[in-house]
């Protein structure tokens, strides 16, 4: 099985299949995930293979889905919930924040909620408003939740398996337009989770910190910059948004003295601000230039006809690099 090519979607399906097969406690819940195979086909074939006790079609009621999953988790199951789009999670937000996130704290460690919520996020697939949001900050800000956002199939499979092994709730994000696009060669078993470090290292002039699909924009921009100006950048794919890999961030800053943060979420109080804060706390004296952010804007993600103007583009990232390096 070594060395096969999988899309992100296939990697996720494979991970779910393995987990369902390995452990009877694992269940999948969500809208249209069973008979239909999922709106993005990420659960295709699982209903047939494991039956409707393990792969459960739910009503369109996110609060009910997450609430049920919390009950299942408290009673010894390992539920994996699919929320069809990230921003549809809001009806279930109360269950997640008021109960799942604080159950371990509330019971003084007696009970945990080993729950995984898998949800696509982000703009660029021509979906209307709520479908396109990227609001990781809500979750990263909540004590008790872990948030991961892989950028490629290899990380996706590894992080999904690691998420299930975690004894507490983990929100697993996959970027919508990453689902079918990227292919990556990888071995079948991989379980790295925390601080999985992956770097594109050359001699550096500047850093990028980015997540999910923004990695593609960041890599394309750095390639162009290197071709045009000969400036080499290090790109750091954060992967886990909570906990953040502080060491990698700080080490990278010590190397280059500059940073550009790319995320598609709104700018104000976005995760970029937190990263700047970490750098400020731990690596201020290495800074040669103000840290820039290339992000979405402080508006609801606009309708599909103009959503490309909302998302950070290669040109905007390039401009950011130029401003950071030529400061």
């Amino acid at each position: 099985m070594m060395g096969k090519n999988l899309t992100m979607l296939q990697a996720i399906t494979e991970a779910l299949d393995q987990m369902l097969g390995n452990d009877d406690r694992v269940m999948i819940l969500g809208e249209d995930i069973g008979v239909n195979g999922g709106v993005f086909r990420s659960t295709e074939g699982l209903y047939e293979k494991y039956g409707n006790d393990r792969v459960v079609d739910t009503p369109l009621a996110e609060s009910g889905i997450i609430g049920s999953a919390i009950g299942l988790a408290l009673n010894g199951m390992l539920p994996i919930v699919e929320i069809q789009f990230l921003a549809f999670i809001y009806p279930g937000f109360e269950q997640l924040v008021s109960h799942a996130a604080r159950m371990r704290y509330r019971t003084r460690g007696q009970f945990g909620v080993p729950l995984v919520i898998r949800t696509p996020y982000g703009a660029g697939i021509r979906g209307p408003e709520l479908h396109s949001e990227s609001v990781e900050t809500f979750f990263a800000h909540t004590p008790g939740l872990k948030v991961v956002a892989p950028s490629n199939p290899y990380d996706a499979k590894g992080l999904l398996i690691s998420a299930l092994e975690d004894p507490d709730p983990v929100i697993f994000w996959n970027r919508l337009n990453c689902i079918g696009l990227l292919r990556k060669k990888f071995p079948t078993k991989c379980t790295e989770y925390q601080s999985v470090k992956q770097k594109w290292s050359r001699r550096k002039r500047s850093d990028h910190f980015c997540m999910g699909a923004m990695l593609r924009e960041a890599l394309n921009a750095t390639k162009k910059i290197e071709a045009e100006k000969g400036w080499k950048c290090e790109v750091v794919d954060l992967r886990t948004l909570y906990p953040l890999d502080r060491d990698t961030i700080v080490q990278s800053i010590k190397k280059t003295g500059r940073a550009l943060i790319v995320h598609e979420a709104h700018k104000t109080a976005g995760l970029g601000a937190e990263i700047i804060s970490i750098i400020n706390d731990e690596a201020l004296i290495y800074l040669k230039a103000p840290i820039k952010r290339v992000t979405g804007f402080d508006v609801p993600v606009p309708p599909f006809t103009i959503e490309d103007h909302y998302l950070p583009t290669v040109d905007r990232v390039k401009q950011g690099i130029v401003e950071t390096i030529s400061f």
């Binding site: 003295g257 201020l284 004296i285 290495y286 800074l287 040669k288 230039a289 400061f327």
Partner: protein, 300 residues
């Protein structure tokens, strides 16, 4: 007793109290041009209050710390006057020689003088090996002016040589007439004439910039400043409407203005309003020197 009233002040023995001069910065400048006597001690304390933090990124600040450079003494060459890494290296290079030499002296001075105030330090050094002349009056104005000129106006220098034989011949021919009129004829009036002719053809050289309105002012009058060395420094008396005067009139006016300049008897009117300035280093020797342009608060 009312809230906010000072009850008492604690003063240690070697604290030098800082008397309020009561002189605002503006008044202070007027004072330094000669009229009011200003206590040098007050000027020293003033400098402490004017300290502005040097512009530098945290990285450069840390680098300065590691290189043991007082960053406040480094002049920045980066955007907005920011201090860059290369400024620090340059500063270190420029200072290594002086530092070696001064080290012994410095160590001693620092140990002995540390508790004393600047004014006292200055007095102590005075007796040793230095002489201190207060920078004030005309000399101070010139210094300020030159610094401002060089730092705000882009300067361009062009050097050329001129075949003068025929001019010499012509001057000798005129000597008979000038001697008659008791005028000492030099080359300068000829240069003034030549320059005026050139300025009429190339108007942008007889111009100034109005920064308020972003306009270049081309002038159709020709007031030529003549840089004159005096004991107080360089003074530039102005020959008004040089284009309307003859060689002899120019020669005569130059002599009069130069004499007045040396006696310090020029009026404001006679040293302002030049549209173009000539510096003649001929009498001292040498063939060229860097020059600085005049800044005008108001276009003339």
């Amino acid at each position: 007793m009312e809230v906010g009233t000072t009850i008492f002040t604690i003063q240690e023995e070697n604290d030098v109290s800082v008397p309020d001069t009561g002189i605002s910065e503006e008044e202070n400048q007027v004072g330094q041009s000669g009229d009011v006597k200003v206590n040098p001690e007050h000027i020293t304390t003033k400098q402490h209050h004017q300290a502005v933090r040097a512009l530098a990124t945290p990285f450069v600040r840390q680098m300065a710390r590691e290189m043991k450079i007082d960053i406040e003494k480094v002049k920045g060459s980066g955007p907005a006057g920011r201090i860059t890494e290369s400024d620090l290296k340059q500063f270190k290079e420029n200072n290594s020689f002086t530092r070696e030499n001064a080290k012994q002296h410095d160590d001693k001075t620092v140990q002995e003088m540390a508790p004393m105030k600047d004014a006292v330090l200055a007095k102590g050094l005075e007796n040793e090996r230095e002489e201190r002349i207060p920078l004030k009056g005309i000399r101070k104005k010139i210094a300020e002016h030159m610094v401002k000129s060089v730092s705000t106006i882009p300067h361009v220098t062009h050097v050329d040589e001129l075949e003068m034989d025929r001019l010499k011949e012509f001057k000798n021919q005129l000597k008979v007439y000038s001697d008659d009129k008791d005028i000492k004829l030099t080359f300068l009036p000829f240069f003034i004439k030549a320059i005026v002719i050139a300025l009429k053809e190339f108007k942008t050289l007889n111009a100034s910039l109005d920064e308020r309105t972003n306009e270049i002012i081309l002038k159709n009058y020709y007031h030529i400043g003549i840089a004159t060395n005096t004991t107080e420094g360089l003074i530039v008396p102005v020959i008004k409407h040089a284009d309307q005067k003859t060689i002899f009139q120019l020669a005569d006016e130059i002599r009069q203005l130069a004499a007045k300049a040396r006696e310090g008897k020029l009026s404001i009117d006679q040293i302002t309003g030049s549209t173009f300035t000539i510096s003649n280093v001929g009498p001292i020797g040498g063939c060229t020197r860097p020059r600085s342009l005049t800044i005008r608060k108001r276009p003339y």
